[in-house]
């Protein structure tokens, strides 16, 4: 297949995914689209084809689509298209010595639409003045998603330098003065303040604030995401939620956690926000209809019985041009319509003195 033909086929699949996400009564099922994407990737990507052959060679059911391990993104290029067609290459963060993973994207249109759709339902039932306590690096998928929010969630759409100025994190410190000004602007415009922040940035903010507070307007929301890998001090999740709610003068239900990863196009959110479009208890992350999460047994990769913990296996319809099924080393447990995050699966404990595998792909 030539590159133009590949792009045409990819575009058709992207359009089907967006239509499925947007429609109140979709014409196609999740399974139909997932299998179509898997067939496309099998035909276009030798690595995925090898994986399919290793698992028996058939793509008959969604649960049988072989999931690409997230480690593969560190080992090699996971994409159906040539690098010359990339419009973005998002990179994973990691510890020193660990190889960087990359998720190349040929188009950002689906990423934008899906992020905005699920993000608005979870975080922004009303116009929001969005600020970011995250990196603004173009290689960060989180920064790009927050950029979509900044541009679209306000009462007026913004772009360019106006959007650039909404990133308030410098090195490891937060520009508290600009955050206070943003809260004041939001109040003047009758918008809520939406603070998208990594957990470590929120800790830095709380440290900087001490006993003082941010005077956030009613309806404000804070969206913590990510862990503390190698950054600042670690803080218990409940303590962080309470501290953030106090600092912004908002209920703890307005501190809405997000779970996303570079290897995925779609995200999950807690359903705690009053007035949000879906409802769930704290610490339970809810996927959108175009993302399916299944806890699987770490060795057989088959679904575990209801209530058991397993590795998170994602089927993400947004990953049209990379890997529609991804398995991570994060342990999760199903809770109603969502999942509970249980931390990373540790490598096999040593039964001898040989090194335990913590970071498999070590250098590129």
């Amino acid at each position: 297949m030539s590159q133009p033909a590949l792009v045409d086929e990819s575009e058709r699949l992207h359009a089907r995914v967006r239509a499925f996400a947007l429609a109140s009564e979709p014409e196609e099922t999740f399974d139909e689209i997932a299998l179509a994407i898997a067939e496309f990737q099998c035909a276009r990507c030798p690595g995925f084809r090898r994986l399919v052959e290793r698992h028996g060679g058939a793509l008959r059911a969604v649960e049988k689509i072989p999931a690409v391990p997230s480690e593969a993104f560190r080992l090699t290029r996971v994409a159906v298209h040539e690098p010359s067609l990339d419009v973005a290459r998002f990179e994973t963060s990691g510890t020193s010595g660990e190889a960087t993973g990359r998720h190349p994207m040929r188009t950002l249109e689906t990423y934008r639409e899906l992020s905005l759709l699920h993000g608005a339902r979870a975080l922004a039932p009303r116009p929001m003045h969005v600020v970011a306590l995250t990196t603004s690096s173009p290689s960060s998928s989180l920064a790009r998603m927050v950029r979509f929010f900044i541009e679209r969630f306000g009462s007026v759409e913004i772009s360019g330098r106006d959007a650039d100025e909404r990133y308030l994190l410098t090195e490891n410190s937060v520009d508290v003065d600009r955050l206070r000004r943003a809260a004041s602007v939001a109040a003047q415009r009758g918008e809520g303040l939406l603070v998208a922040a990594t957990a470590f940035a929120l800790v830095a903010l709380l440290d900087a604030l001490g006993t003082s507070r941010i005077d956030a307007p009613a309806g404000s929301v804070v969206m913590p995401t990510g862990g503390f890998k190698g950054r600042t001090r670690e803080v218990d999740a409940v303590e962080l939620r309470d501290g953030v709610a106090r600092a912004f003068g908002i209920p703890t239900t307005s501190v809405v956690g997000e779970y996303g990863m570079t290897e995925l196009t779609s995200q999950l959110y807690e359903g705690t926000l009053e007035g949000g479009e879906f409802v769930g208890p704290p610490d339970v992350y809810l996927p959108p209809r175009w993302l399916r999460v299944t806890p699987v047994d770490p060795s057989s990769l088959e679904a575990v019985p209801e209530g058991d913990a397993g590795l998170a296996r994602f089927v993400d319809l947004g990953n049209v041009d990379s890997a529609v099924a991804v398995v991570t080393q994060d342990l999760v447990r199903r809770q109603g319509e969502g999942i509970e995050l249980l931390g990373r699966r540790p490598g096999a404990p040593a039964r001898g003195c040989s090194l335990a595998v913590e970071e498999m792909v070590r250098a590129r």
């Binding site: 690595g47 994986l51 090699t76 060795s299 001898g352 003195c353 090194l355």
Partner: protein
Amino acid sequence: MSEPPFDGPAAERIRRLVSAARRLADPSDPIGARAREILPSSTGLSPAGVALALERCLETAPSDAELARLIQSVEPAPAAHVLLSSNVFTGAHRALALALAQSARVVVRPSRREPDTVRLLSEAGGPFEIADELRPTAGDHLWIYGRDETLDAVAQEAPESVVIHRHGSGMGIVLLDLGSAEGGASAAIVRDVVPFDQRGCLSPRLVLAVGRETEARTLAAELARELEQAARLVPPGPRSADELADLAQYRDTVAYGGELRGGVGGFVGCTSGVIVIPPVGRNLHVTSVDSVEQAWELVAPLCRELTAVGISSAPRLFERVEAELLGVRICALGRMQTPPFDGPVDRRDQGR
């Protein structure tokens, strides 16, 4: 150079221990027979795997020169305490020999998972005490074997005046110049992989192959065949659920991003210019590199984790490793699991 003398009370103590080890290695000795009976369940090795380790890896005939160097590698102490945690089962023998080289009073707390080797050595005449808890006092030496977390916890609890020797986890790698490698390299590498089902810190898990990618793939195919054959002679023991989980992750990652071969005998992955560490349980990863310089660039970040390097007879590689990896055991392929009985098997603290 003449060999250092080998006599005195320390030598006598070690001789008694070696003689006990000989009884374990001997299948016709009742203790050797019992070892073969009970060790498969506590070690997770197959009966043939236990027999191989006892007969090939347990040091039963060290030379006087080796024993003299062993004694010289430690300083005398009022008492030596040994905490065995994560280790291969024959490792208890060397750990005890070091302690006996140091002191007439040796107290050992065996591994909870595998307490049998120490008990069998004691029963066979090894001159040491077994205890459930170690209580070193001022001036004593404490030898701790285990995972880093165990080492940290024990070291923190020990009185300040106790001298602590830490031996953590590590791994072996092979450096191979495909252009000058002699025939039989893959068979020799597999001889180093099979003992202890690769769970030892001397066991190679990664092969850095200097040469063309196609040659590296050929080597990977040969290694997979050798592993298969070896499994027929010495079947691997059952793998734990966690080891199987690590293996599932490795297999699918390498199937996607490289080339994967193997089966019951173990898996061999192959990539170019990227290091992937396979899980233990007789799995190898071959990384092809264009030059010694590239090999070195990839190895350098792993230095602290390396305990042993098996090397083909390529002078360029040998010189580089010897100069840069101080303290690591460098040896010929096929000899990685049988280092001289001359001191701690893990010499990283001495060199770096």
